[in-house]
């Protein structure tokens, strides 16, 4: 039985580790400035923790086999030991250094993503989550987001009505509301995340971006895309029966294409 346990545990360990190393299913290619740092720290973590995982599982399987009771013929008793204080201290300190050290290593990335506000020239996009769609609002030529009146919200009409834009506010006249998010490559995007009804979460895997959109809050966060392309947006906080189909699309285009798109949208508002 000890041998069987060893074989099964070792097999499980080898197979699961294989898929981690082969990256058969892995994080999508990073497309933002944050991705390199996050992915690098991810790799560090998974190498360190992977080593611990493999060592612990292999040891467990090995001990189960090596220290099996070999029957009455074997006279060697189990070793009567209550422990070893030196070892305890040693592995406590090592583990503490490993775990806390690993975490502290990630501090600067977290700081740059979350502590620092967006840069002054960032493109502001207001993202509103509602059951079950994402809407994106651009401030228009006046650079100001217009007021919203909750009483005017009408999701079936889409766009401005879904957000409940107040037409009496001059600042809202030129606001562009879209169901697809367009941004230019290489420029920092400042998101203002809102939710209309319940908690949603704005998740773009390729950008290594995730943030809950919470009703009652306007959460500012930023990212900088570095590769053009279409990137799916998923909702990552259970929001009701349509949670699984609350997806959107981020289109990262060249700055020229972005200006064209935005100009066309703004022209419609005139």
């Amino acid at each position: 039985m000890g041998l069987v346990i060893l074989i099964v545990i070792w097999l499980i360990t080898v197979i699961s580790t294989y898929f981690f190393i082969a990256k058969t299913w892995w994080l999508p290619t990073g497309a933002s400035t944050a991705a390199a740092g996050i992915d690098h720290h991810f790799t560090t973590t998974y190498i360190l923790m992977g080593a611990v995982f493999v060592a612990a599982q292999l040891a467990l399987g090995f001990f189960a086999w090596k220290f099996r009771d070999r029957g009455p013929s074997s006279s060697k008793a189990a070793s009567y030991s209550h422990g070893n204080n030196t070892l305890e201290i040693l592995w406590t300190v090592l583990t503490l250094v490993l775990f806390v050290g690993m975490n502290l290593m990630s501090r600067s990335i977290w700081a740059s993503e979350r502590f620092d506000p967006a840069q002054p020239g960032a493109l502001q996009v207001e993202v509103t989550g509602m059951q079950f769609a994402w809407y994106f609002r651009y401030a228009g030529p006046d650079g100001k987001f217009g007021a919203i009146k909750p009483e005017l919200i009408d999701a079936s009409a889409g766009g401005e009505s879904a957000l409940g834009l107040d037409p009496s506010d001059p600042a809202s006249k030129d606001d562009v509301v879209a169901g697809t998010m367009y941004v230019p490559v290489g420029r920092q995007v400042e998101l203002i995340l809102r939710a209309q009804d319940v908690i949603h979460s704005f998740f773009i895997p390729s950008m290594r971006f995730k943030q809950d959109a919470v009703p009652g809050l306007a959460i500012h966060m930023h990212f900088t895309p570095i590769a053009t392309g279409d990137y799916e947006i998923a909702c990552a906080e259970l929001c009701g029966l349509g949670h699984y189909k609350m997806h959107g699309m981020l289109k990262v285009v060249s700055p020229a294409d972005f200006e064209t798109w935005l100009a066309a949208r703004e022209a419609e508002k005139q």
Binding site: F145, I148, G216, L217, A218
Partner: protein
Amino acid sequence: MVRSASAITLDAPTLTLGDDGVLPPARDGGDYGPDDRSPDFATRLRRARLGMCVAIAGIVMIFVSFTSAYLVRQGLPTLDPRTDALVRDWIPVRLPNLLLINTCVLLVSSLTMALARRQVAREVALVRFASLPGTSAGHEPRISWLTVTVFLGLSFLTMQWLAWRELAASGFYVGTSPSSSFVYLLTGMHGMHLLGGVLALLAAGAAPLLHRPLNSQLIILDVTGWYWHFMAILWIYIFCLLEFAR
């Protein structure tokens, strides 16, 4: 009061002390000895007191979380989507004066609770002597402090109810504003717990009627006393929170 008399008069309530009707000898506590499976009075009292301390710790956590919710909610700004500004919607509530009166009632009841406990403790101690020939337990008129405490507890609860009515009359219902929500919530939760204490006192008072032993009644009274004092302290805390942390 014990005094010698030619006749033996026994004034203590009926006792049930085990099969042979004799109080077990006094022991100095400690838990099981090697052959004794029935814990003595001191052990049972200690165990009940320990249980009550643990219970109080659990109840404290309920009110700690309500307090944290109170403080967070009070200071919380949320976004008004109309103005895109952060607004706070906390309106301080003027507490009815009845609550101040109630505080005094509860403090007095703590006093009467302590008296009730002593009263029963004395009865238990005297029972030992009352069975000696030539002694009696005395006839002085006694107020049942237990009854007074129950009465004060019920008065408190009634007046809390009236205070709620007063609040409602001035327009503050449960859902009117967060501050009024907390007034009802905190006083209501406290009141429910106090009601539990009142029921425990009634159970203690009913002990003779149910033919329970007197020292069981004393144990219930003892721990309910601690609970009662905790309820008073908790009430003062809640009152101060609502009054001063507005």
